[in-house]
Symmetry: C2
Subunit: 155 residues, 2 copies
Amino acid sequence: MSDRGVAAYAVLREVRPLSQASARAVADVLRGTGWGVATRAVLEHLLRTGPSTVPAVAREFGVSRQSIQVLVDAAVADGLLELTDNPQHRRSRLVDATDGARRTFEHLHRQELANLARVTADLDPGDLARCAATLAALTERVKRLQTPDHTTEEP
Amino acid sequence: MSDRGVAAYAVLREVRPLSQASARAVADVLRGTGWGVATRAVLEHLLRTGPSTVPAVAREFGVSRQSIQVLVDAAVADGLLELTDNPQHRRSRLVDATDGARRTFEHLHRQELANLARVTADLDPGDLARCAATLAALTERVKRLQTPDHTTEEP
């Protein structure tokens, strides 16, 4: 067995525990705000990439269109998201974060970054940056393993 | 905002896409075996750590006891897992992989490692190993962000 396959698999094995720990830490920061982890993730995505449609957000997160529609409907009712007409597709409106949601996100995210900086005081920022770059490269390559008919399914 | 907090967050942002891509690649290898991704994950955990109880497996994966019980019951019926008496706890039996499941796992895992080695041919094994080590260190530190009453909840 090649060392490289084993080394790549060692990275994959670390991903689930970190993902879970991260989701819990995010949930802690959100406590009392009324925002859920999934709503926060969709808001962050929209703030980074700009307005998008429900099907496009569902593809991005690898989940069903219906689950994103339910989340968007609730967030629109809560004043976090707003819908605007889509010049490119009359029947699929664009979803975007409201100004209020953007301000709340920025406030929460500053708190998240400060918390992370505090607990990682003994880690080297360069190691973290190289790790992020390796993860991005590995993700791109692991996606090549997927059979084409599998790419839009639930993980 | 500190560079370190931003660098740590950049790692966290890479984790979800890799986790999804990895789950899909694992599902592809499992196709036709009758094994699900969750069953494979529990089998791998038991093969690495030895026999365990349903509550301990549920804690390890951060999911409900009930969901692991359902999975274990089905895997016992399929001959993948077996239950043995627990010398330390009369009412919580030990779950372990059967010899047949172990052989199938090893066969599937060799295929996974070979697939990974093939698509990561241009990546440096040393970079991958350092990435795995950084992820482990980061996970440990992100866990410190959790409030104590939160650690056994669903992520």
